[in-house]
């Protein structure tokens, strides 16, 4: 960190969405999708509440995981004092600033706890020794307290980093970076704990007898690759739309592509390790979860995940040229976002449809409703701010960044 940041002068028109740009309409497009999705959910969900709540849970987890992945990403950049990523950081900050919106979108699930979680049905534990034993943790009041805690903590961290970075745009005070860096280390620990417990509450407890001690890491791996995929798509789309096209360079894209590649391998490592230990140990209360996913059409989805979440992106993202072009990187990002959704769908849906893969219109409607809110909130924030942290002390380093 030197005084050279004083020399960087980005013109405001380089780092904002100009009036009349198509991206100004994104909040409206998002809101339109959200309303349409919500209407379809209301019409069809009334007749099939169980399907509605499961569909809503999958899409909720998908967009929430993107926000959580963004929080991890930005905290890691602060903790490691990453220079290269500064021009991309606002995309992450905008993504995690949607956490309060996600908290609101969590509320509908509270009306369907009995549909979603068999342990929450009154009297479920009466003849079930395992559920009795787990009851001190798996009970509705404590579940609600934990949910409030997760959203409280995530919102607190998200707003602290969002406001700090936005404030620095005005003041240019390097002390902001130092303060946020100081909290980043503890913040990562807190995020790791809350994300782990949230994944246990909202995904693992769908199958209340089952447990996996590395489920939290699995959720983190999915969330992180989900956000990196989103980041690569948004960064490439911005450049394609003439936003930040002089600021974000092929060098930044290549680094995002490298992270996408690396976390494809990390996700696979975690996903396989979880499966491998349970398969090898062969204990009934552990294997039940995979058993359900290795029969019928769920096996097809399992194989799709192995090929699509690992083999295809692994070889696709290996080369250098693929990561440096807008379109090729965005294709990889969209593909992995889709696979991340399939991954969450595969984790949640076999509880509802043990007989096999049963796609529903409500899956699409819930995705549109929640995704519409997510896009509307994020793009509305993007419009009101500079697209890069304009006066971050490491901005010059990031602008000049080149891969060796």
């Amino acid at each position: 960190m030197t005084a050279e940041h004083d020399l960087v002068a980005l013109r405001p028109d380089q780092v904002t969405i100009p009036p009349g740009h198509p991206w100004n309409r994104l909040p409206l497009v998002g809101a339109g999708c959200a309303v349409l999705g919500a209407v379809v959910c209301a019409l069809l969900g009334a007749g099939n509440p169980k399907q509605f709540f499961f569909s809503w849970l999958v899409s909720f987890l998908f967009f929430l995981s993107l926000a959580i992945g963004a929080l991890f990403f930005v905290l890691i950049q602060y903790a490691a004092q990453g220079g290269w990523s500064v021009v991309l950081r606002r995309i992450g900050e905008t993504t995690f600033a949607t956490v309060p919106v996600m908290a609101a979108l969590f509320v509908p699930l509270l009306f369907g706890l009995n549909h979603l979680f068999s342990w929450s049905v009154p009297g479920a534990a009466e003849h079930d020794a395992l559920l009795q034993w787990k009851a001190p943790f798996l009970n509705v009041p404590f579940f609600l307290i934990r949910a409030v805690l997760y959203f409280g903590i995530w919102s607190f961290i998200a707003l602290m980093y969002y406001r700090g970075s936005r404030g620095q745009d005005v003041t240019g005070d390097p002390a902001v970076s130092a303060r946020l860096r100081k909290f980043a280390g503890p913040g990562i620990i807190v995020m790791a704990l809350t994300a782990t417990f949230a994944s246990v509450d909202w995904i693992m407890s769908l199958t209340p007898h089952w447990y996996s001690t590395m489920f939290g890491v699995y959720f983190f791996a999915g969330s992180f690759i989900g956000f990196i995929a989103l980041l690569s798509v948004v960064a490439a789309a911005m450049r394609g739309a003439g936003l930040l096209d002089t600021v974000i360079t092929a060098e930044h894209l290549q680094d995002v592509g490298k992270m996408l590649f690396a976390f494809t391998v990390f996700w696979t490592y975690i996903a396989f390790s979880q499966f491998f230990l349970i398969w090898y140990g062969n204990l009934p209360e552990e294997t039940t979860w995979y058993r359900a996913r290795m029969e019928g059409s769920w096996l097809t989805i399992s194989i799709l995940l192995m090929a699509g979440h690992f083999a295809v992106p692994f070889f696709y993202l290996m080369g250098r040229a693929v990561k440096r072009r807008n379109t090729t990187l965005a294709v990889g990002g969209v593909w992995l976002l889709a696979m991340h959704f399939v991954d969450l769908y595969w984790q949640v849906m076999p509880t509802l449809h043990p007989e096999g893969f049963r796609p529903s219109v409500l899956d699409v409607a819930a995705f549109m409703a929640i995704g519409g809110c997510f896009v509307a909130a994020a793009s509305w924030l993007l419009r009101r701010q500079a697209l890069v942290p304009m006066r971050d002390p490491r901005l010059a380093e990031s602008l000049a960044f080149e891969n060796v």
Binding site: F275, R320, E402
Partner: protein
């Protein structure tokens, strides 16, 4: 080509060696040497200089392809070896699993893939750099000792088609070299 033969020019001169005071001087000199069309030359620095590969006009290394092929060979070999042992040559029931229990073979497949990829990277780098090479004519230069300390060099070999003992030396001098030396083979 034989692995241990020295890859140095034949003839009375190895080439010219020019010393530069700063990375900036070296960087711009490299650009000019590149633009003059020299092909058999190199830059020597005590530490990596960002962007020097571009200034020198270096092509991308074929090393990634060597690593890919080596890694895939290792992974395929690891998987194939286990398949042959467990499913073909010595079929034994272990932990009640099938003979061909592919999940159990993944860790070793992965490890051998990584190991061979690392071998490919290290030995591929050695091969591409024509190492090990026990002596090099550049070491005859006294001033070249500072290449690991505080000086920056460009050497142009005599087998470069554009090489001329006096003209090439003058070119390097005109590019701001602090000293220029004609080295014997």
């Amino acid at each position: 080509m034989p692995l241990f033969r020295q890859q140095v020019p034949t003839g009375p001169h190895y080439g010219v060696l020019a010393e530069f005071a700063t990375t900036t001087d070296l960087y711009h000199a490299c650009e000019r040497v590149r633009d003059a069309g020299f092909t058999r030359w190199d830059a020597h620095t005590p530490f990596p200089v960002h962007g020097l590969d571009k200034a020198m006009g270096l092509k991308r290394s074929p090393l990634p392809w060597i690593v890919l092929v080596a890694g895939l060979t290792g992974a395929a070999g690891g998987f194939g070896l286990q398949y042959w042992v467990h499913a073909d040559a010595y079929p034994l029931v272990i932990s009640g699993k099938p003979y061909f229990a592919w999940p159990a073979m993944i860790p070793i497949t992965f490890e051998l893939g990584v190991l061979f990829a690392a071998f490919g990277a290290v030995f591929g780098m050695f091969g591409l750099n024509k190492l090990p090479m026990h002596h090099h004519p550049l070491f005859k230069s006294k001033i070249f000792e500072r290449v690991t300390d505080d000086a920056f060099f460009i050497s142009i070999e005599s087998r470069d088609p554009k090489f001329d003992p006096s003209a090439t030396g003058k070119l390097l001098e005109s590019l701001g070299a602090r000293s220029v030396e004609l080295l014997e083979s």
